[in-house]
Structure formats: structure tokens, C-alpha cells
Amino acid sequence: MKISSVIAMAAVLLALVGVALFGPNTAINFLVTALIVALAAQGWNLLGGYCGQFSFGHAAFFGTGAYVTAILQSRYGVNAWIGCGCGILAGAAIGTLIGWLSFRAGLRGSYFALITLAFAEVLRIAANAAPITGGGTGLLLKLDMRAANFQFASRGTFCLIVLACVLAVLALTTWIARTKRGAEFAAVRENEDAARALGIDVLVTKLRAMALSGAITAAAGCLYTQYFLYLDSNIAYGSWISVESLLAVIVGGIATPAGPIIGALALHALGEATRLLAGRITGIDLVLFGLILVAATAFAPKGLAGLWNAAQSRRSPRA
């Protein structure tokens, strides 16, 4: 990695920690939300970026993580930390299940995107109707601010925990990309037949990516629950999180470790800016997001990370 990139990352990290420790509540709220989306997007990136399977329904994982931890706490009195652990496992399980059904049926590309969308919608409708999720009224977690309860009096502390999770997944992703598993993901993404001929079990490889991706995005759902202490079916399984996790990756830089983080922060900053300029017109930020998705695909297929790298290599042509 180039020195300039390391310096840039250290500066961003320092700024984030600074906001978490000393920033006003609105800034911390902004950061927590953006980082939760970043974490969900890191999950998407492992499956979509590294393994090449584009999901339009990552809400299925986010919502499962969020609901499992919320239901375990509110209905069964399970400790919040254990609840979150279960939520993450549930995300991995649902990822494996959806993957097993879809990939065994031979679904790829657009078909896979479609069926993930449909699974997320079925879960949303089911969560909206089932009594255990509180149906349309949603679930409220009891306010009980103790660290043992995964609730903190200081928003800054929670923000640092989310940041730590994001950085942990960043390290995990960087590491995986350099291992045999990472090479298998890339091979499956680039050419399934060639991967098979080289001894790679394509189904198992995709299921690994699904499980890991599901777990990470479910972790984002768990953190959402712990921070906002409220859930309903449109938050947990709504298409917003499917879209934002995909969008953050595309904007930030697909199949790059830092892409989802860059993308999530950039998009949320842009969303805030739009609201400041255009007032609180519902949907106006999403109009912009949609157009950015089109523009990013057209003009910056490697996202902001790609633009940064291109700029770096222009400055030092023979690096």
C-alpha cells in the first residue's frame, strides 16, 4: 500500500474516533448510522464483490440479525451480548439456507439477484404478520443502560464499538483476500467452469461466502437494534438496507477492503447535505442515490477507491 493511502486512512480513522469521543450527539448519530450501513455493506462486498454473487436482498440478513437479538431479549430475557451472538449465527444460517436453495437450483446473475429480493420480501411480509415480531407495531427493547446489557449511557462508547466492528471486518476481509479461500472466491467470480476444473467446489465456495456475508450483515442488524432499541418489519427487512449496502460498495469500490466504508460514509454525508439543501422532501436523497448508482456504474466502475488509486498513480506514474 502506498504511504499516501496509509496517511489518508490514519487521518480518517483519527477523525472518526475524534467525532465519537468529542462530537455532538447529532454527529455521533450520523456516524453510528453510517458505520452500521458500512458493516452491512462489508457483508455485501464479501459475497458480491469478492465472490461475484450480486444480492438485492441483504435485508434478509440484516433483519434476521436484528429480530433474533431483539426477540431473544424482549421475549425470553436472554442477555444482549448472547442475543447478538445468536443473531449473527442466525444470519449465517439464513445465508447458508438461501444460498443452498438458490445455488443448487443453478441460479446465477440476475436470477440470483431476483430470488434474494423475493426472500427478503417474504421475510418482511411474514415479520409484519407474525405475533412474535410484534407485527406492524414493532418491537421495543427495554431501556437499561448497562455495559452488561450492551447499552451505554454514552453514545460515543457505542460509536467506538461499531467502529471497532467495522475495523475488525476490514482486517478480516483483507486477510481472506490473501488466503486460499479468497483465491477460491475470486476464481468462482471470474469463471465457474475454470474454477471447477482446478478442483474448487463451487457450491461450497459460494455457501462459505453466503454464510460469512450473512453473519456480517446480521451483525449490523444486531448493532442497529442495540442502538435504536426499536424495530419494525420495514426497518429490519425493508429494501432500504439491501439498496444501501449494495450502493455503498459500488460507490466506494467493489472488491476492495475499504470500499464499503468509504462508500457508506460518502453516501451518508451526501444524504445529509441533500437534506440541508433541499429541505426535508421525502425521497429526494434517494433520487440522488439512484442517479449516483447509474453514474458510478457508468463513469467510475471501481468506485471512489478506484478514483483515489488512479489519482495516486497519475501523480507517481512509475510506482
Partner: protein, 246 residues
């Protein structure tokens, strides 16, 4: 003793019988050729041997075990490697990364896989292009990459599907010694090839497939004078005309 035994393989695509009761044997340590006119079913038979195409009838015995039901990745793990006639590079990866995917099959560590990949790249003549994207290679380069990736899996049996097709004579001259060196290391090779010069130079034994049927087998010299083979390539009556001219 045979390493690979293909027994009465038939493959039916709808009304078309692409391969019809074809059998062949490959003794260990040899180079065996599979030739035949275009559309004879050679690539289909390769697909059946490597596990990509399930046969309608017949069985594949490898190293004494029936592997007819094994999926491709399992065959690769047991030592059968193949190249594709239509090259299938991992276009977004670099040359060394492409080859490392194969090397990872026997080497779990990145450092080992990369070292093996780089060694093999040098052997097949891709040493200067290690870090170029695979999509930037020429046709000859891509053929070499196919070969390198398959070699990286440390195979016992190597299936080569027209690795020389589309290359110019000097490129062919460069690759033939590479294939001979691979055999010298004890890798058994079954190759589909159209370039007769290469078949004559490399193969101990040749099978001829025509319209899905195995019509002849023997040494390359014997095959070249076989009437049935000449007619399969040049049309009915061709053998007689050639003899009349001789």
C-alpha cells in the same frame, strides 16, 4: 496397467448422438492422442472424462476406481487436470494469480502457492508476464496460461484440448518441448490435437474418433495410412484415389 479407462461412453444430446459407445485406454507415463474431424465428439468426450458432461451410458475408470459419478472438482483433486479448447482465463486476475488458483489445490499457504505458480509460469514461458492481467495476454499467451493452471494442480493425468490450435508454427515449436518435459516428469497426457505434426512428434498411441465412434487406434504412423481414417478426414473414396496416385 492403465491409468485411465474409458468404457463404452455414449452421450446423447436430444436426437444427436455426439459420442457413440467410445472406449479408450491411457497407460501411465505416455502421451496418447485423440484425433478426428471437426464435430467428431472429441471435446464432448473430454467433457465426460473431466466430469463436466454426464454420460448417457458407459463408465470412466481412473486409477482403478469408477469415477463416472464424481463431479469435476473431485476429479481435479484426485489428479485429473484439463485445459479448455475455448480458453477460460480468470480475466480479472493477474497471470500469477490465475496459476496460483490451481496451485492452491495442493498448497494451502499463499507463499507456497505463489512460489509454485511463479515457477510454473517460468516453465511455460509466461515468466515475464507474471503481474499482467490475464485479459492482456495474446492467444498464444492464453493457451500457455491454460496449460500452466492445469499443471499447477500437480496432476497425474493431464487432458489437453487443442492447446496448439490457433498458434503459428514458431509458437507450436516452442510449446512441443514443454509438453515433452511435462511427460518426462511422469505426468500422463491425453491430448486432442489437430496439428498432425505435433501428434506425430508427441504421441505414442493415437485414437481416432469420427461421428462419435472410435474408428481406429494405433501408432501415429499406422494411423496415417489407415484407409478408414483417411476416408473419415477426406471423404468417401479418398483412400482409393490416394493409392491410385501413389
Amino acid at each position: 496397467m492403465t491409468l485411465l479407462h474409458v468404457e463404452g461412453i455414449t452421450k446423447q444430446f436430444g436426437g444427436l448422438r455426439a459420442v457413440d459407445n467410445a472406449s479408450l485406454s491411457v497407460p501411465p507415463g505416455t502421451i496418447t492422442g485423440l484425433i478426428g474431424p471437426n464435430g467428431a465428439g472429441k471435446t464432448t468426450l473430454f467433457g465426460v472424462i473431466s466430469g463436466f458432461i454426464p454420460p448417457t451410458a458407459g463408465r470412466i475408470v481412473y486409477n482403478g476406481a469408477d469415477i463416472t459419478a464424481h463431479p469435476p472438482h473431485r476429479r481435479a483433486r484426485s489428479g485429473i487436470a484439463r485445459t479448455f479448447q475455448i480458453v477460460q482465463p480468470f480475466a480479472g486476475l493477474s497471470v500469477v494469480e490465475n496459476i496460483a488458483v490451481g496451485a492452491y489445490l495442493r498448497h494451502a499457504k499463499r507463499a507456497d502457492a505463489t512460489r509454485v505458480a511463479s515457477d510454473i509460469a517460468h516453465r511455460v514461458g509466461l515468466g515475464a508476464m507474471l503481474h499482467q492481467p490475464a485479459s492482456a495476454l495474446t492467444v498464444a499467451g492464453r493457451k500457455r496460461l491454460e496449460l500452466a493452471r492445469a499443471l499447477a494442480t500437480a496432476p497425474r493425468l493431464l487432458l489437453l484440448d487443442e492447446v496448439l490450435a490457433g498458434l503459428n508454427p514458431s509458437e507450436i515449436r516452442d510449446i512441443i518441448p514443454i509438453i515433452q518435459a511435462i511427460r518426462a516428469e511422469g505426468v500422463t497426457i491425453l491430448m486432442i490435437e489437430h496439428v498432425m505434426q505435433a501428434v506425430m512428434n508427441l504421441c505414442e498411441h493415437v485414437y481416432v474418433l469420427s461421428q462419435g465412434r472410435m474408428i481406429a487406434e494405433g501408432t501415429p504412423q499406422a494411423i496415417c495410412t489407415d484407409e478408414q481414417v483417411i476416408e473419415a478426414y477426406l471423404g468417401h473414396g479418398a483412400a482409393g484415389q490416394m493409392q491410385a496416385h501413389a
